[in-house]
Amino acid sequence: MEEKVLIVRYGEIAMRGNNRKLFVTRLVNAIRKNLDDMGDYYVVREQGRLIVEDRGGEMDFDKVIPRVVCILGITGVCPALKTTEQDIENIKKVCEQHINEIGIDDYKTFKVETKRSDKRYPLGSREVSAAVGEYILEKFPQLTVDVHEPDLTVNVELRNDAYIYSKLIKGFGGLPVGSSGKGIAMLSGGIDSPVAAFMMAKRGVEVEGVYFNSPPYTSERAKQKVVDLAERLSVFTGGFKLYVVPFTDLQLYLLDNVPHDKLTIFLKRAMTRVACTLGERDEALAVITGDSVGQVASQTMQGLHAISAAATMPILRPLAGFDKQEIVDIARKIGTFDISIRPYEDCCTIFVAKHPETKPKTSIIEKIESKLTELDKYLEEAIENTEVIEL
């Protein structure tokens, strides 16, 4: 009996140590979550691999692969045929079936590669390869053998069951989510911040998000946009926690009490404080932002210095050295671009000065801020009324 399964490979190096089991469990959960609405899928742990099986019928690779290969920590997936009968005659037949399914129009040369982790198997790897290769030559006379640079490599893996496959679809790789601790990303709804969150997630950081909501200056749809971005990010990570912080009152307080040309700096410092406080509660170790040096007035080196000084944990800025186009390219690749360009106002731009300060001095900013007697009250209020959305 043979069936279509998906072999999932993950980065072995990241899997060292005691946490290995936990990371594998996270991957399994992420795969299950992404496939949940599509049918009856099971994820089986094999040595160093995960096997996705469709218990509801024949697996539709076109539907399943995109949902799995995007999960961070996965290096690649192989659509395969699995068979429980491992005798060499059956293996040959299954290989033939596999080649028929993938079609040979694109191929002239091939080789067979066998891995045998079941050492009780009566034939050695080379013998299996030779026997299968001979059979393929006989059945598909248009193919010839080339062991050095074949167009097609038919892989035979003999484990508890046998797996036949020939294609590897590459994933993003990276480290499994959570293997590097937690971070809290500030999401504005723009193009950059989801890319920054993705970049850190790719390095194994479990990312949660925080969005600052300023009704009536920002709309319900602007908030929905960020929720949609968070949902998109959750596809890569197997889940995403989003904080929505009501920020209108604080923003108006700042507008009333700080020099207008420096408003954005104060605003971003306040946001940074909120992100740090929310992050600390969840044992996050860093704040993540989409800042790219020099992109807007508050992203000058001076601006970033003045903002960073308000943080109580490190701020990771994975896009600091990226050009806009480089960021856009990634945003398109990860499917956040089309969401980010929906035309709704975000809270940073609504009261922005015509000529904002580009070279703020941290000491001056801090001096002004020390006179904002009610700032802490507004910060506490904002944090207290924060809404949590689990995606």
């Binding site: 009536p216 920002t218 507008l255 035309p343 709704y344 106002e345 731009t349 009261f351 000065a353």
Partner: protein, 383 residues
């Protein structure tokens, strides 16, 4: 909730919902079927067509059910283009049309048609002499909006028709009556209208239904082909629940229209005068309170951004439309208000209130109070 966004859509009447449900669950036959279930459904459609024909003084066989205003407008333009291409390749419309008219015209333009777009004055009226001057021997269609959706400007359709026919009796006249139907008396014969577009959900009917009036004997071609429904002119199984629902809405709308108009006038007047008298730096966009449609009121709040005002009213469950969709990245100023020559700064603070007969004077009064408070608060922070 105070719903002042009736030009966007209206709440369906309970009677309409009942009819729709009846047609979905009990009288669900296909009018094209030969069996009794089909006949029963067909009879309802026949009745509906009569009610609707009578509402504009047309014959039942001049009424075609469509998916709504957009389809009807498209039909008028593309159907005329196909049927009359031998007479010419020129059409005329106005700068304050709905996109459902303007965009099809733009499509024709890409295919070599000549399109004239008439400007309007500061109240939104076209100039009849300008129209006459624009009509040529090869002009096959003039299309004008009867009541404008943003300003409530009412064009004089009868005068326009006379002007068209006086210059070129072969030129057809299409009227987009989506915002006028059920709120303003329409008599296609008296007004000299050749084609008319109507949408159901603007008059307390279901969404996804509308009708197209086409005068008998025109060579306007169909734009949707298939099983030959609607006398071969508009294929697709009749949307019987929505057709019957629409007719129910029309029946009630027509019976109440005169009374409703008087009532809505009062709501509008209360709101408009209340705002103008108690909130500084406000003014009417488009025609005066009495001159424009009672169902639409466009007010500019200078120094405010309409989107922000809209969202702050939304906090109090008052629903209105913004005259423009502005944000820092893209200016989406209303093309209609721009066509009236209103400057961009003023358009930025334009709010459209649109009414129905179920709105009350009390709602208007409540709205004024909240507007006063919100406008004062928001103005404090506008820089």
């Amino acid at each position: 909730m105070i719903y002042f966004d009736n030009a966007a859509t209206t709440r369906a009447l309970d009677e309409v919902a009942d009819k729709v449900k009846y047609m979905l669950l009990e009288n669900f036959g296909n009018p094209s079927s030969q069996n009794m279930a089909g006949v029963n459904a067909e009879n309802e459609v026949i009745k509906a067509r009569k009610i609707i024909a009578a509402s504009i003084n047309a014959e039942p066989d001049e009424i075609y059910f469509t998916s709504g205003g957009t389809e009807s407008d498209n039909w008028a333009i593309f159907g005329t283009a196909k049927g009359y291409i031998r007479s010419g390749k020129h059409m005329i419309t106005t700068a304050i049309e709905h996109p459902a008219v303007l965009q099809p015209m733009r499509e024709l333009e890409k295919n070599g048609w000549d399109i004239t777009i008439l400007g309007v004055d500061e109240k939104g009226y076209i100039n009849i002499d300008e129209l006459k001057a624009a009509i040529r021997e090869d002009t096959v269609l003039v299309s004008t909006i009867l009541i404008n959706n943003e300003t409530g400007t009412i064009q004089n359709a009868e005068e326009i028709s006379k002007a068209i026919k006086s210059v070129n009796p072969h030129t057809l006249y299409h009227v987009d009556a989506v915002q006028a139907y059920g709120k303003y008396p329409i008599n296609v014969k008296k007004m000299g209208i050749d084609m008319l577009s109507v949408s159901g959900h603007k008059v307390h009917g279901p969404k996804g239904i509308g009708f197209f009036y086409m005068k008998k004997g025109l060579k306007v071609k169909p734009i949707i082909f298939g099983g030959g429904h609607e006398r071969g002119q508009r294929s697709g199984t009749e949307n019987t629940p929505s057709i019957v629902g629409l007719a129910e809405a029309v029946k009630i709308d027509m019976a109440e229209m005169d009374k409703a108009v008087e009532h809505v006038k009062l709501v509008k007047k209360t709101l408009a005068e209340g705002i103008l008298n108690s909130i500084p730096m406000t003014y009417i966009n488009g025609p005066s309170i009495e001159e424009g449609s009672p169902y639409v009121l466009n007010i500019g709040f200078e120094g405010l951004r309409s989107e922000v005002l809209l969202h702050s009213l939304e906090e109090k469950e008052i629903y209105v439309s913004a005259g423009s969709a502005c944000n820092s990245k893209k200016k989406g100023a209303s093309t209609v208000l721009s066509a009236l020559g209103i400057d961009e700064k003023r358009i930025e603070g334009a709010i459209r209130f649109s009414f129905c007969r179920y709105n009350t004077v009390e709602e208007a009064e409540q709205c004024i109070e909240i507007l006063k408070e919100k406008a004062a608060f928001l103005r404090k922070y506008m820089r």
